[in-house]
Amino acid sequence: MSAAATPLLAIRGLRAAYGKIEALKGVDIEINAGEIVALIGANGAGKSTLMMTIFGRPRAREGRIEFDGRDITGVPTHEIARLRIAQSPEGRRIFPRMSVAENLQMGADATENSEADRAAGLERVFALFPRLKERMTQRGGTLSGGEQQMLAIGRALMSRPRLLMLDEPSLGLAPLIARQIFDAIRTLNRQDGLTVLIVEQNANHALKLAHRGYVLVNGLITLSGTGSELLQRPEIRAAYLEGGRRG
């Protein structure tokens, strides 16, 4: 990746805490436009907190978050989404009693104002996940886990994001379905040049998918490099791959 251009998202010295418990202890991350970046780490390492802090909840105690050269550290949560940073939160969190179409519409409400933009957004999502089109009038809560994940990603895509953040998209999914989800992310990146930050416990999949990766341990970045580099590192293999497989 070219180092000369300003990164799309730059995080420097980020600290965040829940009360007295410090979850992030000075994190530095850069994501360039058009990249897929994976953030891997064990439970409680601070992966989700990092993603939430970009969205201003919890607020950063120290450090800076810059999006496209602009400091967004203190911007209110709902305005961050309007800068076209979209998030698919952990555990999918679709709206169970609302229909698939309504769920998708919710993703567009904050950013897309014209009816035509919304319709175009729907077409894009349905092209990526034809299954959702079939289930358009069905309630979100009646979808299978994989379909719900597609819906969560589709909903995030409705705002035409410049940066898509996915929190554990493979959580609780069968391996085959998880692969479909990862394939869809790869397609989005290749065809539309979408920049993606993916948080995963499934390190093997995530690092194969990603251009670059960061390893987060106890609120600190301990390793970084390209996806294939990280996959070769013995400590990664021991901690997140082979060890994970045995346990």
């Binding site: 909840r57 169970p96 993703g107 809560g141 719900q148």
Partner: protein, 430 residues
């Protein structure tokens, strides 16, 4: 699977009988009364107690047998196709039919003052129910202090009309605006609260308003209330027996029923306005945001929805309709006092919303008719009225836990609109 052994059934029935024995031994087994010298005398009624316990025992055996006989089967087997078709038909036409009937009520029951008064009361609660439905049904914010906005509306009109002599039609929007303002005021401190905690704060808010009304003697008249509140006029023409009154102007014979009929149509129009606004709002982004907020607050944040604005508008909109209803209540009664605005009222309106099916406009209207109308219907039962009511509510919550109309109509249509029955949908997240 179910255990069909007689021993199991007997065990269950005995347990029910035991519970009945404990419950009723004091309620029915003992009877106390003030004796001739003012002393408390009591006697036992073990015969009645034994009968009740025996009924419970027998009844629970029958219920258990029935349950095993019917067993867990699909809805298709229980409800034949023609009945489902009929139910679909009724479901489609019930709303319009009810509306038509409501419009005709003053024509049909012109001579029956009691029914007209009751109809006005029912419509007031329909309106309150629809107003609270915005807050509780759509936005999912449990509000136990809704009566506060009803009170603000009523006192706004009463004070503005008696102090400044403003007419009802000028005060009505003012009452709504003031109530909405108090809605926002309540909204701010509870922005971070959810569920039980929110319910407690709103409950307290309702009580604070009532206590202020009682204790701020110089302003609100305290426990004596405000009397002599002016009646509404028919576009400036008073509904009185005077020369320039409504009857004289239109060449009719004066009748006090004119005013009642007029009031009926006023509250009907206000209720329909509430309904129309709510239906429109539901299809706008703000209405969708309310519903999404009810479903999942975290997801709303992730989608860039302004939670603060969403919650405050929900509180303000609901409060505004409560304020309108309050102003109408004041003008109809001609007299208001803090006694009309107790927690009981909040609970009643909330019960209407919950029984009707949260978020369903038709369900809320049906529940209001059933609760207020039914309450009057059972007047003959005296003291057992509350018992019948409690029983009916328990049964309803067992059989229709999502309320009378638990179905939620989608608001986004893409070419065809097809709904999935709520019975097929599991409650909860993910």
């Amino acid at each position: 699977m179910l255990d069909t052994k007689p021993a199991f059934i007997l065990k269950k029935a005995s347990l029910s009988a035991l519970v009945a024995l404990v419950l009723f031994s004091l309620m029915i087994g003992l009877r106390t009364e003030a004796g001739p010298e003012g002393k408390l005398i009591y006697w036992t009624r073990f015969g009645d107690l034994a009968t009740i316990v025996a009924i419970v025992f027998g009844g629970s055996i029958v219920i258990e047998l029935l349950r095993q006989w019917i067993g867990p089967v699909g809805a298709a087997a229980l409800v034949p196709a023609w009945l489902q078709k009929l139910m679909d038909f009724v479901g489609r036409w019930l709303g319009p039919a009810l509306l038509g009937f409501a419009i005709l009520v003053p024509v049909i029951f012109y001579d029956q003052r009691y029914i007209l008064d009751l109809a006005i009361l029912v419509l007031t609660y329909v309106m309150l129910g629809w107003g609270l439905n915005v807050v509780v049904g759509l936005a999912g914010l449990l509000d136990l202090g809704y009566v506060a906005f009803y009170a603000v509306g009523a006192y706004s009109y009463a004070l503005l009309a008696t102090t400044f002599g403003l007419s009802f039609w000028i005060c009505l929007p003012l009452a709504g605006i003031l109530a909405a303002f108090w809605g926002v005021l309540l909204g701010f401190p509870v922005l971070r609260l959810r569920g039980d905690y929110l319910a407690i704060v709103t409950l307290a808010f309702g009580e604070i308003i009532r206590l202020v009304l009682i204790n701020w003697q110089d302003f609100t008249g305290g426990p004596n209330g405000i009397s002599g509140i002016p009646r509404p006029s028919f576009f400036g023409i008073p509904l009185t027996a005077d020369e320039d009154g409504f009857a004289a102007r239109f060449g009719l014979e004066f009748s006090p029923t004119h005013r009642v009929v007029f009031l009926f149509y006023v509250i009907l129009a206000m209720a329909l306005l509430t309904n129309w606004v709510t239906i429109r709002l539901r299809r706008l982004p703000i209405g969708r945001a309310w519903e999404a907020l009810r479903e999942d607050e975290v997801a709303c944040r992730a989608l860039g929805i302004n939670i603060t604005a969403t919650k405050l508008t929900a509180f303000a909109t609901g409060a505004m309709f409560g304020g309108f209803a309050g102003a109408f209540f004041a003008t109809r009664q001609g007299f208001i006092s803090p006694e009309s605005f107790t927690f009981q009222e909040s609970a009643l309106v909330l019960a209407i919303v919950v029984l009707g099916g949260m978020g369903s406009q038709l369900g809320v209207a049906l529940a209001a008719v059933a609760m207020i109308g039914g309450f009057e219907l059972f007047r003959g039962l005296d003291q057992y009225r509350m018992l019948v009511f409690g029983f009916a509510m328990v049964l309803l919550m067992i059989w229709r836990p999502r309320g009378l109309v638990g179905h939620r109509a989608p608001t986004v249509f893409l070419k065809q609109s097809r709904a999935i029955s709520s019975d097929l949908v599991k409650e909860g997240h993910g």
